[in-house]
Point group: C2
Chain length 179, copies 2
């Protein structure tokens, strides 16, 4: 079973090391990991390169049997948007989608913490409603994983964005499903 | 042609007014607009309600012929993650995906501006690479729209998140396509 390993680790300086470590863990549990950075692409312009990477990553996702996404918050109270696009794409393709997060803090609390709001506040500084569904992120993310029958493992304590403990828990759950 | 109107306007206090205005504009150009807030849902718990809204919105997207997404940055340098999930979902379902943004500032500059960095800086405070593909958002978003043959209209000047000028430009382009 091929797993596309979505996540913002591609932006780390040691992205290829993280990719290798995630693939090795996949192999340990009997899976093949497909890491976005597999496609080293250089086109004629920055824009052409960006679009070509998108084509390559979409093809990898179409080739995968499922996606396991690192949904740890990235540059915001929410997961990385590139990762979330890939999760939606796989869901539309009818594949099971799985995720994990390296923080136990729920979305509602993360939005309030980022803005320095007290717990009772229900709207942000722009007057926009703060979702309060006791979910880990925007309801479309938690809901999509749930509808696909996927696993969403939430770390019991805060860990670094590139920590692999929660990722390995998802692989363990997937390996158990296959038994 | 039915257009699913994805966007963070659902979090505005006057969301239903915005929904009505977007639907009216769709009708003006010969389209039927499907607005997420159409599904007013109340389940037994906050979590059950969130998951039920996800089911209803995914069904609306499956029923639509295309998606038009408001990709104006929301609570971060990027678009709203719920909106981006919906864009990916529609792409996986093989539908054309379209978007607009009410700011002309590119992703790379938005990340740097949010962090107070100078223009030469290539990594964020966590040492993570700042994408520099001269695209409007994460490359999977711009790339997915491009691959689907969709329109991505970028406002020439900054406007409010709920401004409808760029949205109308996308509708005009879609109407021209249909001629």
């Amino acid at each position: 079973m091929k797993l596309y390993l979505a996540g913002p680790e591609v932006f780390l300086a040691n992205a290829s090391d993280i990719g290798a470590a995630k693939k090795a863990l996949c192999e340990k549990y009997g899976f093949i990991g497909l890491f976005p950075l597999d496609c080293e692409i250089q086109a004629a312009s920055p824009r052409a390169t960006g679009l070509a990477i998108s084509v390559a990553n979409e093809a990898l996702i179409r080739d995968a049997d499922a996606v396991v996404a690192n949904l740890t918050p990235f540059r915001s109270p929410s997961a990385d948007v590139g990762t979330v696009y890939e999760l939606g794409l796989a869901r539309g393709l009818g594949k099971p989608i799985h995720g994990y997060s390296n923080t136990p803090v729920l979305y509602t609390e993360r939005v309030k913490a980022a803005a320095g709001f007290d717990a009772t506040r229900q709207t942000d500084a722009q007057g926009m409603h703060i979702e309060a569904f006791e979910l880990h992120d925007n309801l479309m993310i938690d809901g999509g994983i749930h509808q696909s029958g996927g696993h969403f493992y939430i770390s019991k304590k805060d860990a670094a964005l590139d920590s692999l403990a929660a990722f390995e828990r998802v692989l363990q759950q997937l390996a158990a499903d296959c038994r």
